[in-house]
């Protein structure tokens, strides 16, 4: 894939312009569709023995609620439960209420595989909303392929994957990275980059794509560095950054390391509210800022598809509903919103297919549109990723992002980017 393809308008995109034109469409989200269960007899909509009765359908929620990943995955669980509740309030899917079985992956990949198998084989769930890390997804993937399940995976991730049994509701790496680098180059006049990440596949792959793109633009990468997950001492790399004086610090630090990194960055006198250096991250959502402290990351830029502060009616409704369900002090990050899309996309696919059968849902999935998504209109690509806009937000002291840029068009997902591998 060439560089320009990242943002190039396609026929589908122009169609989107029409569809997403009216915010009025968002109202349809809360208008119950008059699908009644008796119009869809169980025997007809469930030919493969899934857990579907005349008035209920069971789905699985599979995230870590214990262990180190619980920090990140809690938001996703909350969003999925909210979506399920809203769908049920509207009359459910094909007239059936969604019930869910929640399993704990316990931040342990074999446990994820075990629980995924349990959900599919024992509980016969119709679909699973779950996983967060790539490792957990890789662990469950063979299970989903073998037992033909459907997984809605919410996290932005490194790409390089396209399974018929997964719908990726977060962005893959090129969607998230390329627009951000273009923006920082154009708007901030950035010439040199320092790439930094936690040591595992997502930051490494993302930085690889970033490096290729930066070099393609004729700019310079002055350093690239990885620290073990959970590392808490960043003074050395901060010194190196000071020595190299990059225009942009491109940071993909995750988890608890984030807190340490930004606190130490601020303490070392790197003031991100100043013109240079610009800190651009793709790993810090509003969720992470709660731990970091808004005052410690103020002025940094994040590049992703969703920010809580997005101004559109869909999002206003979503944020209000989320806070009502989980408390006023909740914040919503990119992944939380993507997780929220999972049940909705599944519902849309099921109703398009008129069946819960996984094969039919899969067939129906491409080109499913969700005009009511909090992030705005999204659409499922035949490669099972979502068309979505990429946005850049500037971190504020109150822990929210101010959206400073958004791509004009939806960015096409490209999990196997040629020229970036």
């Amino acid at each position: 894939m060439t560089k320009s393809n990242g943002n190039s308008p396609k026929s589908t995109v122009s169609r989107r312009a029409v569809l997403a034109g009216g915010a009025a469409l968002s109202a349809s989200l809360f208008l119950p569709k008059n699908l009644r269960a008796q119009d869809y007899p169980t025997a007809a909509v469930n030919t493969t023995g899934l857990a579907v009765t005349d008035d209920t359908v069971t789905v699985g929620i599979l995230h870590s609620v214990t262990g180190t990943m619980a920090i990140s995955e809690t938001g996703s669980v909350q969003a999925e439960k909210l979506a399920i509740e809203q769908i049920n309030a509207q009359g459910g899917v094909l007239g059936r209420k969604i019930e869910f079985i929640q399993e704990d992956g316990a931040s342990d990949w074999p446990t994820f595989a075990e629980k995924a198998k349990k959900l599919l084989v024992n509980d016969k769930v119709a679909s699973v909303m779950g996983c967060w890390t790539s490792a957990s997804r890789k662990a469950v993937l063979p299970v989903f392929e073998q037992y033909n399940g459907m997984l809605y995976y919410p996290t932005f991730y490194e790409g390089l994957e396209q399974s018929p049994n997964v719908i990726y509701t977060g962005q893959e790496a090129t969607q998230q990275i390329i627009a951000g680098i273009d923006w920082v180059t154009k708007e901030k006049g950035a010439k040199s980059f320092y790439l930094l990440g936690s040591d595992y596949i997502w930051p490494r792959t993302s930085n690889k794509i970033a490096r290729k793109h930066i070099e393609k633009l004729g700019l310079k990468v002055v350093g690239e560095e990885y620290y073990p997950l959970g590392h808490t001492q960043f003074n050395s790399v901060i010194n190196k950054i000071k020595l190299k004086k990059p225009d942009v610090i491109y940071a993909i630090v995750v988890g608890g390391s984030n807190v340490a990194f930004y606190k130490q960055l601020k303490a070392a006198g790197i003031d991100m509210t100043k013109e240079k250096p610009v800190l651009l991250t793709i790993s810090v959502t509003e969720d992470e800022i709660r731990g970091i402290g808004g005052e410690n990351i103020e002025g940094a830029y994040a590049c992703m598809k969703y920010f809580q502060s997005l101004e559109n009616p869909n999002n206003a409704d979503f944020v209000a509903a989320f806070k009502e369900m989980w408390g006023d002090d909740m914040v919503i990050g990119d992944v939380t919103q993507a997780a929220y899309l999972g049940p909705w996309l599944w519902k849309a696919a099921v109703e398009k297919a008129g069946s819960f059968d996984v094969d039919k849902v899969r067939e129906a999935s491409p080109d499913i549109e969700l005009p009511t998504a909090p992030e705005g209109y999204v659409k499922v690509h035949p490669n099972h990723h979502l068309w979505s806009k990429t946005r850049v937000g500037k971190a504020m002291a109150d822990g929210q992002y101010e959206v400073v840029f958004e791509t004009a068009d939806l960015v096409e997902p490209d999990p196997f980017p040629e020229g970036y591998q």
């Binding site: 074999p110 084989v121 790539s134 490792a135 890789k138 662990a139 063979p142 299970v143 490494r204």
Partner: protein, 378 residues
């Protein structure tokens, strides 16, 4: 399928113990469980290999290793490398820039298979490597430490650090190891699809047979003079030394044996679960395996198997029924075992069940073997 042939080294009581376990593993569980649960128990049983090794090292020899996950992992990785190479045929990987190498290598711009992956094209070499790699690694650690008489707490902490180092290394060298994701998407063993239900059932039985082989080996060691020496060493190391034994060589041997057992478990884990990842190498699983052994009763080989099954079964059940509080239960279990039942299940059996059973026996006429006690409560 009862491998409890009458051999000289089994007393009738031990024979009954083995027979009950065999009945449980080969008859009761397969009949009572569906394939999914059976496969789950198969996974638990792979941890039992490690626990049995720990009975020898820790219970008998007093050597507590907090790094058994390292050997479990190395064995598992060796098996996973073979399976991954088999899965990475040029046809399967045609979409890669370099077809024919594992997908994660391709993602990391590696264009040729590293030389140390080459032996894993051969199943024979892989089988050798599964045992040899962890044993050599264990030998190096043990040789360095035991020759210098590092023991007890220090050994525990150093092995723990080794587990941490290996985890960071595997994650950091993701181009060669698959990184934090591990080696995933394993499909066939010599063309035999290991993902089917039928294969899972067969693997369960293979696993069970291997476990019994390991149990018998461990039992033989315990019963041999070497087993008595281990106990002697644990209590009076100096006396053993001054009876003319090179204490270090015995410790090295038993540590390597424990590593070999763990490695077999790791390889079977890979086969049954379908992947291997660094989360099985680290500190947390290593400590958990010690707990399995402690719950079973650190001196009892059979107890280790029950301990492993019990803790894992509890873990799964707890986490299915009360996902948000299962850690509390698990933590409480650890403390309870250490504080109140230091001899674990084996101790409870010996102190409570056995006396009652034998009084039952003595009242009945004769000791017909069909009147053998039923499977102990799990």
């Amino acid at each position: 399928m009862t491998p409890t042939k009458k051999t000289a080294f089994l007393t009738p009581k031990e024979m009954i113990g083995f027979a009950i376990l065999a009945a449980l593993i080969f008859v009761v569980l397969p009949l009572a469980l569906d394939t999914f649960r059976l496969n789950l128990f198969g996974k638990y049983l792979t941890y039992a290999f490690v626990a049995v090794g720990l009975v020898l090292c820790w219970g008998a020899g007093g050597i507590l290793s907090l790094g058994q996950g390292v050997f479990f992992g190395l064995g598992g990785y060796c098996m996973a490398m073979f399976l991954k190479l088999e899965a990475s045929t040029p046809e399967n990987t045609a979409i890669q820039s370099t077809p024919g190498i594992p997908d994660f290598m391709d993602w990391n711009q590696i264009t040729a298979l590293p030389w140390w992956w080459e032996p894993f094209h051969s199943f024979g070499l892989t089988l050798i490597a599964i045992i040899a790699v962890p044993v050599v690694f264990a030998f190096i650690i043990a040789f360095a430490m035991f020759r210098r008489r590092v023991g007890g707490v220090y050994f525990a902490i150093i092995t723990q650090a080794i587990a941490a180092i290996l985890t960071i290394l595997i994650i950091g060298q993701q181009g060669f190891t698959g990184g934090v994701n591990g080696i995933t998407d394993l499909r066939t063993l010599h063309g035999w699809d290991i993902r089917t239900d039928e294969a899972k059932n067969i693997l369960y039985f293979v696993n069970g047979i291997l476990l019994f082989a390991v149990l018998f080996a461990a039992h033989y060691v315990r019963k041999s003079k070497l087993g008595r020496l281990l106990i002697a060493m644990r209590d009076q190391e100096d006396r053993v030394r001054f009876s003319g034994y090179d204490v270090a060589s015995f410790k090295i041997f038993v540590f390597c044996l424990g590593a070999a057992f763990s490695a077999i478990g790791g390889a079977m884990f890979t086969l049954q679960v379908g992947f291997m990842s660094p989360t099985l190498v680290g500190i947390v699983p290593s400590i958990e395996m010690v707990i399995f052994c402690a719950v079973g009763g650190r001196l009892s080989i059979i107890g280790a198997v029950y301990g492993t099954l019990l803790v894992n079964f509890a873990k799964t059940t707890f986490s299915e029924s009360f996902p948000e509080v299962w850690l509390l239960g698990l933590g409480a279990l650890f403390i309870a075992v250490v504080m109140a039942f230091p001899r674990g299940l084996a101790g409870i059996w010996a102190d409570w069940v056995e006396p009652r059973l034998s009084s039952l026996f003595s009242r009945k006429t004769g000791d017909d073997s069909t009147a053998a006690p039923k499977t102990p409560a799990e």
